[in-house]
């Protein structure tokens, strides 16, 4: 990864470096960045740094295309929020926007040039049935019709099966928690919901506090096993930490919040790897204050695995270890997600489903549309 992806990482870390790339380097970097979902981000960084004019014209064109696409998604998600405000008008309690939709709607630090495939909503568990009913009445249909998939989501997961609007084709994930019911870490979403702040422009919706944005992003990255987006998610974390960490009170709150929610480990991994890959400026000793750190041996092993996995998006980055690492982390994400007596039958069922050509829930390794 060091060599094959060095230029891409350098560009994300120090955007001005892009002005010195030769054509050959760009030929690799543009493809790697596109596959990892960070080409739009590179474009936004180039523009921010004022070096867009110094880039080769064909390269800038690709970035501008992605910035255009990101602009369209931002308009689209805002329009969806107008619609959804009406659909969910009578629902009690807050409706939280998570990840991509929250970044775009509230113009949070990772938003510039970032693409996303679906809208993630979080409601209190007591409201999930009412929310689903309101959505269905307004034309949102469940995309998984298989009885097993429905049961898998409803019984064990922290979200309902993805829903799609019949006319607008938008995909929406309705969550009641940030980790599955069966996960090793039990998270109580109530404090996140309680602390959230309402969006002035879309008062039906709220976004998590800055601390909770970081914690959710890190938890999603290190627990869900969607490694084809791993690098982009780490870029999100880096962007948030850079923007928020100027405020010393923020970091204190972040550490305290991680402790309170039991999310110290993903925060530790998130800060450690953001710092290692992107030199995120974090105060010295901050990592040592993180609750639930891994031990030295475990840290060394996980470093190797995560580094290999961050490089899986494009074939030119992959090393012989990448495939193995991705597989181990895939198993790890399931291990964290469910206890063995549920996991083993589930994986067997999915593996069988794959052989007979049926798709099954919870096991998709990501598709092109799943940006």
């Amino acid at each position: 990864m060091k060599l094959a992806c060095a230029a891409l990482l350098a560009a994300l870390r120090e955007p001005a470096a892009m002005a010195g790339f030769d054509a050959n380097t760009w030929d690799r970097v543009v493809r790697q960045a596109a596959a990892a979902g960070v080409l739009g981000r590179l474009g936004a960084l180039a523009r921010e740094t004022g070096i867009d004019e110094a880039l080769p014209a064909p390269v800038w064109r690709h970035m501008q295309a992605l910035l255009t696409l990101a602009g369209q998604q931002k308009r689209a998600v805002r329009w969806e929020l107008v619609q959804l405000s009406r659909t969910l008008a009578n629902l009690a309690g807050p409706v939280l926007l998570l990840k991509g939709a929250a970044y775009a709607a509230a113009d949070l630090p990772p938003a510039a040039g970032r693409l996303f495939a679906d809208i993630d909503l979080l409601v209190p568990k007591s409201q999930i049935d009412a929310a689903e009913a309101a959505l269905m009445l307004d034309g949102w249909n469940s995309s998984h019709h298989d009885a097993y998939d429905q049961r898998y989501y409803r019984k064990w997961m922290h979200e309902l099966p993805p829903m799609m609007h019949i006319r607008r084709q938008t995909v929406l994930d309705l969550h009641h928690n940030i980790l599955p019911e069966t996960a090793r870490i039990r998270v109580d979403p109530a404090p996140m919901l309680a602390a959230s702040r309402t969006l002035p422009e879309f008062p039906r919706f709220s976004i998590p506090t800055r601390e909770d944005q970081v914690l959710h992003s890190a938890t999603h990255l290190f627990h869900e096993g969607e490694w084809q987006h791993g690098l982009r998610d780490l870029v999100d974390l880096d962007a948030m930490l850079r923007a928020y960490a100027h405020d010393p009170a923020f970091l204190d709150h972040l550490i305290g919040r991680a402790e309170g929610l039991g999310l110290g480990r993903p925060l530790f991994y998130g800060m450690r790897h953001a710092e290692r890959l992107f030199a995120t400026p974090l105060p010295q000793g901050l990592l040592d204050r993180c609750p639930d750190r891994s031990g030295p041996l475990q840290t060394a092993v996980m470093d190797r695995l995560f580094h290999a996995a961050f490089a899986t998006a494009h074939e030119s980055c992959r090393t012989p270890l990448s495939g193995v690492a991705a597989w181990i982390l895939y198993l790890r994400s399931h291990w964290l997600r469910m206890p063995p007596h549920l996991l083993v039958p589930h994986l067997m069922r999915k593996s069988w489903g794959r052989h007979v050509g049926k798709t099954s829930a919870g096991g998709e390794r990501g598709t092109e549309n799943d940006v």
């Binding site: 369209q72 308009r75 494009h314 074939e315």
Partner: protein, 302 residues
């Protein structure tokens, strides 16, 4: 002097194609990779005048057409198209390899080049007057475009009209003209010098064959055009040649509805499209005889 694809002996072409050959078409550089003889054949026939670049240059799209793995590699062999390792289509019979490459290249542009406004229309030019030909499938757009290209008109594109966001000018793409079914024989009969590639039969569009673009059009692929007319052609059996005014409002809506990325561009898409329609005279054009049609087009740019 730039190296042209036609300068490469066939073995050299196949050798380069196996490891990756960089081809320029309009503003895009493709790195093409294939071990299929049909692909080399198609390229040698249709892209002979196109410049070939060094492998150290930046390429916009890295594409590959090759046999699929598994039993269908040998039994009723199939090929697929890969865009930088990702296969967006389902495999096709091996003898459709070149047609699949052409569709794949179109897909690359239509689904990535959002730096431009991309309209679904052919573009030709004569006396520095660029004419855009939007057309529904079956309207005879490609046949007319091929006939114009064979009659001294400059070919900019037969399917994708590329509008530059900075100056509103039309960016040439210059690729082989895709002819379907009866059009193939019509164009052969129209001009005996027309060079056509090997036909692919029983595709989802029927029989498809491509016309080699004129060398003069290829040589001018970097020169943008200024649109003067938008003509909606319609071939109708027995119809007499007739050019009549088409409402600008309708032309605007048609272009927007048939564009690949109009709404994606948001306000910019509206502004580019509006400026284009404002600058053009818009026409309906009904015809049945190619010769008469060409005469009418000559008058249009006289």
């Amino acid at each position: 002097m730039t190296l042209k694809l036609g300068d490469l002996p066939r073995e050299e072409l196949c050798r380069r194609l196996a490891r990756g050959l960089t081809l320029t078409t309009g503003p895009f550089r493709f790195r093409l990779q294939s071990r299929q003889a049909g692909v080399a054949e198609g390229l040698a026939t249709l892209y002979a005048d196109f410049p070939v670049l060094e492998d150290t240059d930046f390429r916009d799209f890295h594409v590959r057409v090759d046999r699929v793995r598994g039993p269908r590699r040998w039994f009723r062999p199939q090929v697929n198209f890969w865009f930088d390792g990702y296969a967006p289509f389902t495999p096709l019979p091996a003898d459709h390899a070149f047609a699949l490459l052409e569709w794949g290249m179109n897909w690359c542009i239509a689904s990535h080049a959002h730096h431009y406004l991309l309209l679904h229309a052919a573009v030709v030019e004569r006396r520095e007057r660029t004419v855009i030909l939007p057309g529904d499938p079956g309207a005879g757009k490609s046949t007319l475009t091929a006939a114009l290209a064979l009659s001294g008109w400059r070919l900019l594109s037969d399917e994708l009209t590329i509008v530059d966001r900075d100056d509103g000018l039309i960016v040439p793409l210059v690729r082989p003209v895709s002819l379907k079914n009866r059009s193939i024989d019509i164009i052969r009969a129209f001009d005996a010098r027309a060079v056509l590639g090997v036909a692919a039969h029983d595709t989802h569009k029927g029989t498809v064959s491509h016309l080699r673009p004129p060398a003069a059009s290829v040589a001018r692929m970097a020169e943008k055009g200024r649109a003067a007319h938008i003509v909606f052609p319609r071939w109708k059996a027995g119809a007499s040649t007739r050019l009549s005014h088409h409402s600008k409002a309708d032309a605007f809506m048609h272009a927007a509805n048939h564009a690949f990325n109009y709404s994606l561009l948001g306000r910019l898409g509206f502004e580019l499209n509006a400026a284009l329609i404002d600058a053009c005279d818009c026409w309906d054009f009904e015809y049945s005889q190619l010769d008469e049609a060409l005469g009418a087009f000559e008058e249009l740019v006289a």
